[in-house]
Each structure stands twice: as C-alpha cells, then as structure tokens.
Amino acid sequence: MSTISAEILPVEVAASDEVSRLRALWNTIRKKPLGMASALLLLVLVLTAIFADVLAPYDPLEARPEIRLAAPSRAHPFGTDDIGRDVLSRIIYGARISLWVGILAVGIGTFAGMIIGLACGYWEGRLDIVLQRVMDAIQSIPGLVLALAIVSVLRPSTTNAMLAIAIVIIPGNSRIVRGSVLSAKQNRYVEAAQALGCRQLKIVLTHILPNVTAPILVIGSIWLGNAILIEASLSFLGLGTQPPIPSWGLMLSSTGRAFMEQAPWLAIFPGLAISLAVFGFNLFGDTLRDAWDPKLRRRG
C-alpha cells in the first residue's frame, strides 16, 4: 500500500504542477503587454529559423557581384553585401545558427548544471564542497573570456562556440539548482519518502526534480539571450561561426564594419536582429519569472 502511494503521488503532483504552470504563464502573457510582445517575438524567431528555406527570397550563399553593395530596395529589402549576397536571406538563415547554438548550448549547460546541482544539493558533504569550489573557479573567469579561451583550444567553429557557451553556463545553473534542492529537501514528503525506504535516485528524480524545474526554465530562457549574444560576440571576434555560413555576429564584423560608411545596412540589420532576439529572450525570461516565482505571484 505504502509503496503504491509513494509511486503514484509524485506523478499526480507533477502533472497538475505542469498544468498550473502553463496556465500561470498564459495568464501572465495575456495580462502583460510586454509578455505578449516577447512571446510573439520569440514565435517569429523560431518560425523564421524553422522555415528559413521557404522564407528566404534568395540563396544566402549565392554571390552576384554585379549587384554588390546595393541599397535596400523592393527586390532586396535589406540590401546586398560586398559580393552581392542578399542580406535579408542571410539574416533569415542566421536565425537558424543563433537559435541552434543558443538552444543546444543552454540545453547542454543546463542539463550538466542540473546534474551537478542535484548531486551537490542532495548529497552535500565532501562532494558538494569540492564541486562547488570547482564551480567558483570556473565562475572566477568572465564568461566571454572563458569562452574565448576554450574556443582557442578547440579551434573556432560553431560547434565549439556552442560547447564553450555550455561550459560557461554550468556553474551558475548548478548553484541555482543546488539552492532549490536544499530547500526542497526540507519538505515533509521527502522525509516521508526516505522513511518509506525509497531509493535515493528515485527520491531525487521524482520528489526533488519537479521542484527545481521552474527555476531552471526561468534561468534557461534568460541564458538563451545571453548565449545568442556570446555566440555573436565570438563570431564577431572571428572565433565562432566561420565564413561563408551566415551568422549575425560574423555578418557584422566581416562586411558590416568594413563597409559601414558606404553601406550602413550591412551593419544595421544583423545588429538589429541580434538585439531583437536578445531582447525577446530577456523579456520572456522576466515574464516566466513573473508567472512562476511564488513570491511575485502572491503579490501580483
């Protein structure tokens, strides 16, 4: 009897939790115009990335020197670059790179951070002390500088930039998860599960994990904006995505800066794309926090 309830209960809690969370998010998005705007912005970004082949009017890599540095026109709304590639098409394909790098980097970083945080928070002791000092050490190096150093070892490429960003994300996430685990451990039902003789791994996965998903998702969405920014910065410095792949940061540094005075659209549009994407994720992170932070929810 007792084992049955121990198995069924958490599943029910988790399911109802998810429903209420989605509802809370939907309510916040409906009530706050900025929340709605950020959700729409992200939707547009995701759709652009998915349907880049359909949406892009030209091949992003096709060079047509006869129309090089053409100003924005009906045929090329964002103009063309120094070898006559359509800037709009490159920006549309660039959304793919940015989102892909952002989602994978944040996914890997969050997952690894979560595992470390869960282990540190649940088992505490020596493991916790050692791992947290390692996290301190990683955090003592500024994110971009650490990413630069990692990329320098792995050689510049989109995949390596992504891995570097993931490593930068791990310490902060592990700390947040650890904090949530420490407080979740105080709950009576965890004590009950321990008393019932549940296996530790099971307690962690079914009783503790649901408590830390909200902070993970909030911090993850904010990190997505940052990850896009770091990828753009690395590509801007020539250490991320390599030409001719269309990446927003690379477009800015390679042609954008060189032809800025003759063709300002080469720098303005990629920069605008980065800003809007980062702005969208930052704002959406705020919205998620408003919706899911119990302290704020009670107040609002």
Binding site: V134, I141, P142, L148, G271
Partner: protein
Amino acid sequence: MYKYVLRRLFLAIPVLLLSSVIVFGLMRVMPGDALIALMGESGNLNTKELAKIRKDLGLDKPYYEQYGIWLWQMISFNPGHSIFTNEPIAVSLKKSIPVTLELATLAMILGLLIAIPIGVLSATRQDTPPDYVGRVVAVAGLSLPDFWLGTLVITFAAMWFHWIPPIGYASFWESPWQNLQQFMLPAAVLGYRLSSATMRMTRSTVLEVLREDYVRTAWAKGLAGRIVVYKHALKNALIPVVTIVGGQLGTLLAGTVIVETIFALPGMGRLTVEAILYRDYPVVQTNVMLVAATLVSLNLIVDMTYAWLDPRIRY
C-alpha cells in the same frame, strides 16, 4: 572585520589555485598544436626544430612540473615569453594593463553617472513619461550588443560629425586631450551597457526604500525632498546596487575585450584576443589567470563595501 577579511582571503586561495589548474589544463589539451601551427605557417615543419622549441619552452617536461614552473612564474610576476612575438609577457602587460584599467574605470564612472540619477528619477516619478523613457533606455542597454553599438557610434560620429577618434594610442600622461578623445566613445559604449542593470536595480530599490517608515519620518519632519531622496533613501537603496555593480565586474572585463578590439585600443582584452588568434598560449593562460585573480580580489572589495554602506552589516 579583520577576521572576515583574512578568512575571505584564505578562501580565495583554493579558488584561484583551482582556476589556475583549469586554465593550465585547458591550454594543455592540445599542447603541440600551437607549435605545429606556428611552424606550419612559417613553412618549415621540422621535427628537430620542433623538439628544440619544445625544450626551450619547457614543454618536454611532465605536466606537473610545467604547472609548478608556471605557477611560480605567475607568483613572482615573471610569466615568461610570448611564443609568437618573443616579447616578455610582463612587458606587454605593463603596456596594456593601464589601457584596460583606464577604460574600465571611465566606463564604470560613466555607467554610474548615467544609471543612478536616471534610476532615482524613474523611481521618484514612477509611471510618468520620464520613468517610461528611463526604463526603455535600460532594457535597450541590456539587449544591444556592445560590438554593434560601438560600430554604429564610430560610423555615425564619422558620417554626421566628420569626427573620428585620433589614431595611434597616446597615454594620459603623454597627451591628456588625445587620450580622452580616444577613450570617450569606448567608455561611453561600455558604460551604457553597464548602466542598464544598475539603472533597473536603482529604480526598484529606491521605490522600495521610499515606502519605508524612516523615509516617511524624514518627510514628516519637513526635510527638503532632495535631502530625503539623496541622503536618507539613496544611501540604503545603494546596497543592492553595489551587489549588481560587483556582479558586473565580469561583464566589464569581458566588455573591454570587445570594445578594445573595435576601437583599436592596445589593452589587455585586445592582447588576449590576438594571442588566442595566434594560439599564443603562454600569453592566453597568463592573461586569463590575471583576469580571474582581478575578479576574485574585486569581489572581495565589493563585499567590504557593504559594511561601509550598511552599518547593520558587520563581519
């Protein structure tokens, strides 16, 4: 207080040692690669020469010995030579650190000068047009990439005002005016980026503090509005702001990397990026370690500042 400082210093040592292991380990993942790249570029890849260079650089020694040597070099402020330019790293650091220091300090000051008055204005005029403008300015600062802002600022200054920053770096002591002209724009770009988070924090904490009893008492006593806001409210509202500013030191140091590259300032950031591009790992590991050490010490100073700002905090 002394005990606390000592304890913090004591705790900082293992963290720094660990980060030195991480940095060292990172640079050793592919130890020969940088050399092969270097030799390959010069077109004469020769195993004999490679072995000689490896020996000269101490790369033939076991890792723990290399690490020990490097650690000692760092502690004795003699971090060896660049493998690319062969210049002693201490010499290039001596040239580049003042540049970054000046840029970072100016940016920090400009950032605070922008953030605190606007944050206070935003809070005292909550939900009025100045508040909305302030908040939009702050959110925009968080989302605009500094490399984009830098590029736009340089170009539009040239296009509209026909002004470009003087080329060729001059130190403040050589030519103060030229130096300030060179630093004005980069410090403004970096300062604006820093100001946004500070501005948001100042606004929310001032809003909170203005509702406190002692502020109401100050109003009731008939004190002038300015004194209530700046003397009574702001001092306490600044504590979380110091935390935010402290947390931004990493952003600031990373920002200098980008801004120095765009504005061609010969600081540590640009030195590091160039070293990374040339895979000059002695320079990279020294610079990254130096940044980490700076950050750890600055964080300690930030924590000390709390006690000064808030008499309730005693260590």
